[in-house]
Symmetry: C2
Subunit: 131 residues, 2 copies
């Protein structure tokens, strides 16, 4: 079952530059900064209610985020939904004929179990499940 | 002050097609469908925790959403933050040198007072304040 939006991933060229808006204009607090080596990104998380804004800055030109920035520029990269049973959620998606990027969960930022669905099948939205 | 993410606006060609993912895979419930004549869109709202997913389907080829679909295809269109004082929030944004699309609030879906910031200045994210 989906309980809430866990976070929104935003692709940025520079966390140092982008964070000014989230801190100074929205008044949010950065609760964690972390490098996720498997995705070649640096992340910064800001809490807003039940959800977080995750700024994603590539650490390498071959990072998926670097490619996103090259193709589309800065902007919203993905929506992550929190689920209490990621395997069940993936099974439902599979049953509905959706294309999964991860057939089984991988470890994402904060040590959470996560899996991505392909934007084809979700009206163009890269969607993550997060347990 | 920003309390939470009020909704995420997703641009879609067809609400009828896109809603299947939100209802059948995510298990969300549509709580309202509404046409917003001023924006030439039809909207459908799905609740997920404190937030809503707002599907946006253009009702006219000159709609801002029709132009977004033409340029970028289906995907995430904007993030809306709930504030208890939209004028104060706009004043803070103005002080930080951000470009405002609406200098003062307009009436959006559900009769809420809303205002948009230009994505230039927010790392490419079309951002809405919503009171």
């Amino acid at each position: 079952m989906i309980s809430n939006i866990d976070h929104l991933g935003l692709a940025v060229h520079s966390i140092a530059t982008a964070r000014v808006f989230y801190e100074e204009v929205l008044g949010l607090t950065c609760e964690a900064e972390e490098e996720v080596a498997s995705q070649q990104v640096r992340t910064a998380f800001f809490t807003v209610g039940q959800t977080h804004i995750e700024l994603l800055e590539p650490t390498d030109p071959t990072s998926p985020i670097a490619k996103f920035l090259e193709n589309r520029g800065e902007g919203i990269h993905h929506i992550a939904y929190r689920t209490d049973d990621i395997e069940a959620q993936l099974a439902t998606a599979r049953r509905q004929g959706l294309r999964l990027i991860h057939e089984s969960p991988i470890i994402g930022a904060g040590g959470k179990r996560v899996a991505f669905l392909h934007p084809k099948g979700t009206a163009g939205v890269l969607t993550e499940f997060c347990e």
